[in-house]
């Protein structure tokens, strides 16, 4: 303590050097820091992170062109055992054998995207049947998936939706991880190639483009290398039907409701945004009216059907005609999706070259014998 006592003689040399050194270091640090952070134009602070891009989740599947594109399994009851048999049978129709082995490899991380949009019990068919989700989880596990994720960004409060729909429970029992959306999980995604100069592509409404760079529920997509959509088939007040393409709406964040002004544009864009490994349609119950919310058992009929397909467009068209019992020719977003699929793949390349299947004319597949149907006996 003694040396720090003030003296009459002023600073000692040592004290002078110490203070001077400290001052110089502080001044240097302040100058260096300021220069390091210096932004002469004011633009550096406004730079946006470059948006994410999604891979084609179907491209890694070695799928023969001659194999069935749509596989339909029908059953007579809605107990969990029959539902699981229906799922196995539908998937088996595509796979040429039981299980998901053609689609899921050992060690894959699989994202399942059911529709958990509203807080409804499964009976109301506003959300994917949890028995279907559970069966798909089991199939993924059997195929050797190292992890199965279940994610959706519902319209109503997410914890409630996952709880009431039974999907939380199904996931937990099946050993899958549910990801509840939170702000930090969302990240901007660009669904189209950037412009040649590197700037993001701006959607052109005249070309029916709705989705530019937009925040999506990125956390599950970041982790997964396979994506399986498990939509439920239901009436929709605005776009007529919520099916496989519309199911990807549940990955969008932000104020996504503004897209409803161009609902067919956005849904067809969603088909472009994400090419799933596989689509497994829950047609066990079908909401025929008052969609997408429903809320009355009289809105629902038993569909007793599971559809597995590698062609999201044809699958939607099939479901629209056979489950919702409506004419798919009038479904505008299928037209647009087909146009966009073609536009993106530049020229009349084969489906295999394009890396995905995409036709709205499911009857073509029927005529070429690419649709298989099985009937499953009820019970265990």
């Amino acid at each position: 303590m003694a040396e720090s006592q003030p003296t009459e003689t002023g600073l000692s040399r040592r004290e002078f050097l110490r203070r001077g050194g400290a001052t110089l270091i502080a001044a240097g640090a302040a100058t260096g820091g300021a220069l390091w952070l210096y932004d002469p134009t004011g633009k550096a602070g406004l730079r946006q992170p470059s948006p994410q891009r999604l891979p084609n989740y179907f491209a890694s599947v070695d799928y023969p062109v001659s194999a069935p594109r749509i596989s339909i399994a029908r059953g007579g009851a809605l107990d969990p055992q029959t539902v699981e048999k229906m799922v196995r049978s539908a998937v088996g129709g595509l796979n040429g054998g039981p299980g998901l082995s053609r689609f899921i490899r050992k060690g894959d991380v699989v994202l399942l995207k059911p529709n958990v949009g509203f807080e409804r019990a499964p009976q109301f068919a506003a959300t994917t049947n949890p028995d279907v989700v559970r069966a798909v989880i089991r199939l993924c596990r059997e195929a050797g998936a190292s992890e199965v994720l279940v994610a959706d960004n519902p319209i109503e409060a997410a914890p409630n939706c996952f709880a009431r729909s039974g999907i939380q429970d199904a996931a937990q029992r099946g050993g899958a991880r549910v990801l509840i959306p939170a702000n930090v999980y969302f990240t901007p995604l660009a669904i189209r190639e950037p412009n040649p100069d590197g700037t993001p592509h701006q959607p052109d409404p005249a070309q029916h483009e709705a989705l530019g760079t937009w925040p999506v529920f990125w956390e599950p997509l970041r982790e997964a290398n396979k994506v399986i959509g498990i939509p439920v088939i239901k009436d929709h007040s605005l776009c007529y039907a919520s099916m496989g393409l519309k199911n990807w709406y549940g990955l969008l964040g932000g104020r996504r409701n503004q897209f409803h002004q161009a609902i067919h544009d956005i849904i067809s864009d969603l088909g472009l945004m994400l090419s799933p490994t596989l689509t497994i349609v829950d047609g066990t119950r079908v909401m025929m009216r008052n969609g997408p919310t429903g809320g009355s058992l009289s809105d629902v009929r038993d569909g007793n059907t599971i559809v597995a397909s590698v062609d999201p467009l044809a699958c939607d068209a099939w479901c629209y005609e056979n489950l919702l019992e409506r004419d798919p020719a009038a479904l505008r977003y299928l037209d647009l999706a087909q146009e966009k699929f073609g536009a993106q793949e530049a020229g009349p390349r084969s489906y295999a070259e394009a890396g995905r299947f995409g036709t709205r004319h499911w009857t073509d597949y029927r005529n070429r014998g690419l649709i298989v149907e099985t009937v499953v006996r009820s019970g265990a």
Partner: protein
């Protein structure tokens, strides 16, 4: 083990329990552990001030409030042990005072002497109870348990959740949370100025327990023969109860620190001690007590003088589902904000002055934050006082045995047609219809034709299927300029179509869909017979879906308002309290709220008192709220 060690252990357990309870008070947790909903509000229920004050305002003791006896009766025997051992807010003050203390021993002794200021809490208690006697329940403003629950709901937990949001979902936000946060911080910080400031000076619960300590059988007793007047017993005295002279029974927290600190073993916790060495009554004179009661009574008058809870009601005061009628609600709600904590959508918000000054921090729904979750009745299940009744999903939605009385309506949605995209801007939208969760949907659409911008043209030439159009001539112009449409502009698409309304001669104006157009010619779908004459007015309309509300089905859940893409300070569709079912239609006092908006004058659908008229007489316990078809 020393008695103070036992006390510290008990305090640790109590504060941990409090933390566990508030953390459990979320929809997800209560859904995973349904039985937890019986304990999460337990600290509020054992708070005898809540029980007594609501008993004064409602003349009943609601459900779990009977637990108040668990604290009240032992206090009659032991004094304010609650303050020193159980109260989580007290424990927090105790902890802060201990951790952040920088007084030396002498300064501590001085800071723990009794001061006349400490009698303020008795005036606060008397004022609140006087107001309660008039039916105005305000104890929740300063009751420590209520205060702490509210501070945790609006500030402590959301802020703690900010860095960890990915683990627990997004943190909730609350209107004017900073006011509550500031008050919380103020009371906690005051421990550095006056130890246990809140407990000694403010706490109305402490005051109540102090009054009840009057006849305690046990208390701290000083042996004057052993005492050397060193005042060391004041060193850690939590309550400032003057153990060094005549003990102030109403101030002692029974923390036993003085016994521990006394170097001469002059202090003990004695059964039936000497009456000479105690001061039994609180340090508040009769005049001050009367003055406090007068102020409390006046406060009641002021709250009613504003009229906010009666005739000048705010339509923003939309109460949670299962809430009782507004006057009864204000007589029950202690503003603990447990409902706000448990609400999964963050739609429940603490009110500022929407419901008048007496409704400060009571729950109201703000549909910019969320919407009332269709099949959720969690708020009523954690409400300790029955301001929100425990209802089932079936009761909320008017299903099963409640079909005859219909659903509980929180209010009614309305359109602001000047802001609505299809109504006023010719932009297709109807998100509101999409999300409307009732079946059949309360929001329905009609196709409506509206003139497009500069849509009135004149026919220059016409055939049976085509119209060539010109603009109306400008002033001074003989013939209008040819039209310059974008080719295909009026083809329409899946969400809208275009029509032309044209005078076809013979006194008829007819409308034809437009099939296609080029720069100045419209091709119509159909045959115009007779062909419109040159010079006839042709008006181009866009036809799109516009939404409307059927008040017969609207339950006021607010999902339409939440999801409306017109996101300004007022959405194009918004919910007000009008038509809420909790209003008693026959009552004069809230007749403004109980507008009958339903088309069918079905008396059973309005004017019901939640929790009384239509509850099944045999329904004792309400089943779990996830009961509906799951």
């Amino acid at each position: 083990m020393r008695i103070t060690t036992v006390r510290i252990l008990v305090q640790t357990v109590m504060f941990s329990l409090f933390l566990a309870f508030v953390l459990l008070t979320t929809f997800s947790h209560l859904n995973d552990w349904p039985s937890a909903k019986w304990v999460v509000s337990k600290f509020l229920e054992v708070d005898p001030l809540v029980g007594i004050a609501t008993a004064i305002t409602t003349h009943t003791v609601y459900r779990g409030l009977l637990w108040g006896l668990v604290i009240l009766i032992p206090t009659l025997f032991l004094g304010r042990f609650f303050c020193g051992w159980i109260c989580p807010f007290g424990i927090l003050h105790h902890l802060v005072g201990w951790v952040f203390n920088r007084r030396n021993a002498k300064e501590k002794i001085e800071s723990n002497r009794y001061r006349p200021l400490f009698a303020l809490k008795y005036s606060i208690l008397i004022g609140f109870l006087a107001a309660a006697a008039f039916g105005c329940l305000q104890i929740g403003l300063l009751d420590p348990i209520v205060f702490l629950y509210r501070a945790f709901t609006t500030n402590v937990l959301p802020v703690a959740n900010m860095p960890a949001q990915s683990a627990f979902g997004d943190y909730h936000v609350h209107a004017y949370a900073w006011v509550l946060g500031f008050l919380f911080l103020f009371f906690v910080s005051m421990n550095l100025v006056i130890p246990r400031f809140f407990c000694r000076v403010i706490c109305p619960l402490g005051a109540l327990l102090g009054v009840l300590s009057r006849y305690a059988f046990w208390r701290i007793e000083r042996d004057p023969d052993k005492c050397v007047n060193c005042d060391l017993c004041l060193h850690s005295c939590e309550g400032a109860s003057d153990p060094h002279k005549q003990l102030r029974m109403s101030e002692c927290f029974v923390c036993f620190n003085c016994i521990e600190d006394c170097p001469h073993e002059a202090l003990r916790f004695a059964f039936l001690p000497s009456r000479r060495r105690e001061i039994r009554s609180p340090d508040i004179g009769r005049r001050h007590a009367v003055f406090a009661a007068l102020v409390g009574g006046l406060f009641f008058g002021w709250t009613k003088a504003g009229g906010k809870s009666t005739r000048d009601f705010s339509s923003k005061v939309i109460r949670p589902p299962g809430s009782v009628e507004e006057q009864e609600f204000l007589a029950r709600c202690i503003k603990c904000d447990q409902c706000i904590r448990v609400c999964p959508t963050n739609v429940l918000q603490p009110a500022s002055f929407e419901a008048g000054v007496e409704g400060l921090w009571t729950p109201i729904l703000n549909f910019r934050m969320g919407a009332c979750q269709h099949q959720c009745t969690a708020c009523g299940h954690v409400c300790p006082t029955g301001a929100i009744q425990r209802i089932t999903v079936e009761e909320k939605l008017g299903l099963a045995e409640f079909e005859a009385v219909g659903p509980i309506r929180l209010g009614t949605a309305h359109f602001d047609v000047g802001r609505c995209l299809p109504w006023s801007k010719n932009i297709p939208c109807v998100v509101c219809e999409e999300v409307c969760p009732v079946s059949p949907k309360a929001i329905h659409c009609e196709y409506r034709q509206m003139l497009v911008r500069d849509g009135k043209k004149l026919v220059r030439a016409a055939t049976a299927t085509a119209l060539t159009l010109i603009d109306s001539p400008a002033p001074g112009q003989a013939v209008g300029a040819p039209c310059t449409f974008r080719p295909g502009e009026f083809k329409g698409d899946a969400s809208l179509s275009y029509h032309v309304q044209v005078y076809t001669g013979g006194g008829f104006v007819r409308t034809f869909p437009i099939a296609d157009n080029d720069a100045d010619t419209l091709v119509v779908d159909g045959v115009m017979d007779p062909v419109p004459p040159a010079g006839a007015v042709a008006a181009i309309h866009v036809q799109l879906k516009v939404p409307k509300i059927d008040t017969e089905y609207c339950i006021g859940c607010g999902l339409c308002e939440l999801e409306c893409p017109v996101v300004g300070d007022r959405r194009a569709v918004y919910v007000t309290a009008e038509g809420e079912t909790r209003s008693t239609n026959y009552s004069e006092r809230d007749r403004n709220r109980s507008l009958r908006l339903t088309r069918t004058a079905d008396a059973g659908r309005t004017g019901r008192v939640i929790g009384e008229e239509f509850r099944k007489p045999d329904s004792g316990e309400v089943p779990d709220w996830t009961s509906l078809l799951s």
